[in-house]
């Protein structure tokens, strides 16, 4: 992501390996710090919500996780597309490295969504548009990972995954729109976890801190995984 400028110089997996390690280490530390800050703000500083009480605080994890899951899918598809278009191994490896982290955030979003739903709406799972879309996004991530796992030849795995990711990324808006429509058809506006409490400044700060923390975590985790992939393949 931020390595776009360095890309041309470090397009060789061997050259990028040590740099990836240095960036990853820095990001782990920053991520941990920001996460602590964000959680502190979210759980202790931000005011109690009038309607939902303390339980709403889970959104400090739920919403950033959901945003990251969608953001990472697009980034993953971008790297995969680059790998397919320019035939660069490192780009494809980056896409494969991002996938599990993206899936993790999707799962986290679903899980925290369930935890939020229980005290708020009385049920662990509600079929609202956002949660249902997250569930489908999880399947898209798992499909990508499963396809790459099923193919022995790394070159075919990279290119097949890239095609799948591109088809997926194009379909995601269509899927989301269809799920939103489906939700309004069947449930009306009764249940919606997306109606978060109106944002006080501290709440916004807390969310942003968590988003940054998750983003840096993603970079760190992906780069670390990338190093493993490079070591495995080269």
């Amino acid at each position: 992501m931020s390595a776009a400028i360095n890309w041309f110089w470090f397009a060789s997996p061997q050259t990028f390996f040590p740099l990836a390690g240095r960036i990853a280490r820095a990001c782990w530390v920053l991520a941990a710090l920001l996460a602590l800050a964000g959680l502190y703000v979210g759980f202790f500083v931000a005011p109690t919500d009038a309607q939902q009480g303390e339980a709403y605080r889970i959104i400090f994890i739920h919403v950033p996780a959901a945003w990251m899951s969608m953001f990472l899918y697009v980034v993953m598809a971008l790297w995969a597309a680059l790998g397919l278009a320019f035939n660069t191994r490192l780009s494809s490896m980056m896409a494969s490295a991002i996938a599990p982290t993206g899936a993790l955030f999707t799962f986290l979003a679903l899980w925290t969504g369930a935890l939020w739903g229980r005290p708020t709406w009385g049920a662990y799972w509600v079929w609202d548009a956002r949660l249902t879309s997250e569930l489908i996004l999880l399947f898209l991530y798992l499909g990508f990972m499963a396809l790459q796992a099923a193919i022995d030849d790394p070159r075919r795995a990279d290119r097949a995954g890239a095609l799948l990711a591109i088809v997926g990324v194009v379909n995601v808006p269509i899927i989301y729109y269809s799920v939103v429509w489906w939700n309004t058809l069947h449930q009306g506006a009764s249940v919606s976890l997306t109606r978060a409490p109106s944002m006080a400044a501290t709440m916004l700060a807390g969310m942003l801190l968590m988003v940054l923390a998750f983003w840096l975590y993603s970079i760190a985790a992906s780069l670390t995984r990338l190093r493993c992939i490079i070591r495995e393949r080269e």
Binding site: L140, G143, L147, A160, L163, L164, I175
Partner: protein, 222 residues
């Protein structure tokens, strides 16, 4: 180019004709799946009428997956796929012809049989038209999108299940608009919007999917 497309279309239809058993199996699957639900949820007429659109559509999805798994596998195994890759016509055109043949044999019959299932579920007769039209528009989209998955998973272990995992999330819009159009009609509202969306999906996928499938075939055979 047209000659090659017509040739493949004829060939696949001829092959399907001589292997009628395979075709019948997929259709039978459609009927069996749809017949299982009442056994699972109970035969209460109100309930059946309510779940009918969803059940018929899900059964259609699963049936199409079943027939798609074999779409390229046979050609890949006996070497004819290679010849198509080396053909004088662009691969996208050949793929489109194959898909048309596949839909005529595996998709169109679903449209024909669906009213029988609708009868089983007590769906009121005025909805049959919407049912047929939604399936007519939706089943080609299922073939087009599913074929991308079939091309990507060519020759892989765990083929059929992997294909399902890849393709079912992409089927969601078709399912939602297809079954949704019936729900709208059942509620007395006009299903035009959803049918138009299905038509739009059909046009877009017909334009782009053959090239994605051709690319996937090249990736899978290199």
């Amino acid at each position: 180019m047209i000659a090659a497309a017509r040739c493949i279309l004829r060939r696949d239809l001829l092959l399907a004709l001589r292997r009628r058993g395979d075709v019948a199996t997929a259709l039978l699957f459609f009927v069996i799946v749809a017949s299982l639900f009442p056994l699972g949820v109970g035969a209460e007429p109100e309930q059946l009428r309510a779940i009918a659109p969803g059940v018929i559509w899900v059964a259609a999805l699963l049936s199409s997956l079943l027939s798609l798994a074999r779409l390229f596998a046979d050609d890949h195994a006996d070497g004819t796929l290679e010849q198509m890759l080396l053909g004088a016509a662009p691969l996208g055109v050949i793929v489109a012809a194959k898909l048309l043949a596949h839909w005529l044999v595996a998709g169109l019959p679903l449209v024909a049989i669906a009213p029988l299932l609708a009868l089983q579920y007590g769906l009121p007769a005025p909805l049959y038209g919407t049912l047929a039209l939604s399936l007519l528009l939706g089943t080609p989209v299922l073939s087009l999108i599913g074929a991308i998955g079939a091309a990507l998973t060519l020759g892989l272990r765990g083929g059929g299940v992997l294909l399902a995992l890849l393709v079912l999330p992409l089927y969601v819009p078709v399912l939602v608009f297809g079954a949704g159009s019936l729900d709208m009609a059942a509620a007395g509202l006009a299903p035009q919007g959803q049918l138009q969306l299905l038509a739009a999906l059909l046009v877009v996928s017909a334009a782009f999917a053959p090239w994605a499938i051709a690319a996937a075939l090249r990736i899978s055979t290199e």
